[in-house]
């Protein structure tokens, strides 16, 4: 069977942002699962995401030192699924809903992590 989280992280560690797609329904799935939500379709393939998306919602987590404040966003992927991430390479509080963004894999902590930059 699929090992959803493990396989996703393995792809990410190799520099690839992969999502799932059902052969029968054609719909994309994220976060990774053993079946498509709603239909239960288990014919899921790993496909490379385009990396294109748009900011759907945004918050800025405020720290005592403003330099340490950071944003947390929900991004709508061009393929359809929505996920949580951050928009980096831009002042934390200048991210706006509707902003076009592009995926990038950064090291956050010591883990390869999916983030977004302004497109």
């Amino acid at each position: 069977m699929l090992h959803p989280e493990e396989e996703w992280r393995a792809h990410l560690a190799q520099g690839r942002f992969m999502i799932q797609r059902s052969r029968s329904t054609g719909r994309h799935v994220f976060h990774p699962r053993v079946a498509e939500p709603g239909t239960g379709a288990q014919d899921l393939d790993w496909v490379e995401a385009s990396g294109q998306g748009w900011v759907h919602a945004v918050t800025v987590v405020r720290k005592k030192d403003p330099a340490e404040s950071y944003n947390v966003v929900l991004v709508d992927l061009a393929e359809g699924p929505r996920l949580m991430s951050r928009v980096v390479d831009i002042a934390a509080d200048t991210v706006r809903i509707g902003m076009a963004v592009r995926a990038r894999i950064d090291i956050l902590g010591d883990q390869p992590t999916l983030v977004f930059v302004p497109a």
């Binding site: 989280e5 759907h56 918050t59 987590v61 405020r62 947390v72 966003v73 929900l74 949580m84 951050r86």
Partner: protein, 386 residues
């Protein structure tokens, strides 16, 4: 199906209700508080532990919590439930207890909760596993999730931070009329707007309290309820909807499961939103009552911010909302849902003192759990509404 819309309208009633230890309750365990509230609620009903044959409880930080209270009180219940729908658990218990009572499976349900995180800070490791899909981005749990929903509402509908502040100020003004409320000092719109930002657009004054408190209610069938100590409060409807777990999985950030649970509860109760005299809405953050006022039909989608403006839900406003002061100013010990029900009972009985609303016959209590994930609506009424 035995009952229309799947619910035994008016066949069961809340006959006992109590709170205990609101604010600070040091030197005891959470289960001590839940037990104390249970005994007060039973005395309120004119019943004793010997009458109880079902226990519904959500203990903080204890995966097997339902059994802890059973042992503590020396009960031998036929039904013991400890569900995991967060703050909405208690509205779900009312639904489940009503069904079990009506079926004759049980005769007397005790719904109880106690928690004192202000006096006994919880361990760093909570009851929930961090989401592998969200935790790397370090959202503050749970506030950032609610902040994301608020950002979306502001973007789509022009809701403002002033609108959010109206919710906090209205709660505080009700709290000032409730001697039990934990925080009663004055609060202005400017105070909220100027408060320290935590997770935009929410400031620390847009967030509920995290203090101590316990509560309990007792439910029996309507025939027995007539012989209890106080006027029974009928359970007219109770419905539940879950839409997601994490905020990134919420189908629509501006429409909660309350749209479904509310519609079903109204149909069960055979009432409409405009019939409701008292609206008790889970106010974990100031955005939540705005969303629930819309989803429960008190105003159109998107109008919640404008609906609460100009003190509309404060004392003397157009709709009585959260008359105990809410989670924002009265009590929020982690899971607040039971306190909504107790306040509704007190108002419908006419026991609410200085904050009593006139001619209260129908009340709605709406619980929220997770990050807008679980929504449960209960409609309660006086004997005249059955």
């Amino acid at each position: 199906m035995t009952h229309k819309h799947g619910f035994p309208r008016g066949k069961t009633a809340i006959v006992g209700a109590a709170t205990f230890g609101i604010g600070r309750c040091p030197g005891v365990a959470a289960v001590d508080m839940a037990a104390q509230a249970s005994l007060i609620a039973l005395a309120d009903a004119g019943l004793t532990l010997a009458d109880v044959d079902a226990v519904y409880t959500s203990a903080p930080y204890e995966a097997l919590g339902g059994m802890e209270l059973v042992e503590y009180l020396g009960l031998q219940p036929k039904v013991t439930d400890c569900n995991r729908t967060g703050g909405s658990a208690f509205e779900v218990y009312v639904q489940q207890a009503a069904l079990a009572l009506d079926a004759g499976l049980i005769d007397c349900a005790l719904i109880a909760y106690g928690s004192n995180p202000a006096s006994v800070p919880p361990k760093a490791v909570g009851m929930t596993r961090p989401s592998p899909w969200e935790a790397p981005y370090q959202p503050l749990a749970p506030i950032s999730s609610y902040a994301l929903a608020a950002s979306r509402h502001m973007h789509l509908y022009g809701t403002t931070r002033e609108h959010l502040a109206e919710v906090a100020v209205a709660a505080r003004r009700w709290a000032q009329l409730n001697p039990e409320a934990a925080v009663r000092d004055p609060l202005s719109i400017d105070d909220v707007l100027g408060a320290r930002m935590v997770s935009d657009p929410l400031s620390v004054r847009d967030c509920c309290l995290f203090n101590d408190g316990a509560a309990a209610i007792v439910m029996v069938r309507a025939d027995r309820a007539r012989h209890c100590r106080k006027a029974p409060i009928a359970v007219l409807g109770a419905a539940h909807a879950v839409t997601h777990r994490e905020i990134s999985g919420m189908p629509d950030l501006t429409v909660t499961g309350a749209a479904r649970s509310g519609a079903q509860a109204y149909a069960q109760a055979k009432v409409r939103p405009r019939d409701i005299d008292l609206v008790m809405l889970y106010d974990a953050f100031t955005i939540t009552p705005i969303l629930f006022l819309e989803d429960l039909g008190f105003c159109p989608k998107g109008e919640g911010g404008r609906f609460v403006a100009d003190g509309a839900i404060a004392p003397g406003g157009r709709l009585a909302v959260n008359t105990n002061g809410g989670g924002l100013s009265c009590v929020h010990p982690g899971m607040y849902g039971l306190f909504l029900l107790v306040e509704a009972v007190r108002q419908l009985r006419g026991e609410a003192g200085e904050r009593q609303i006139p001619d209260a016959h129908l009340a709605l209590a709406h619980g929220n759990g997770g990050v807008l994930s679980s929504q449960a609506t209960v409609v309660l009424g006086t004997a005249a509404t059955v």
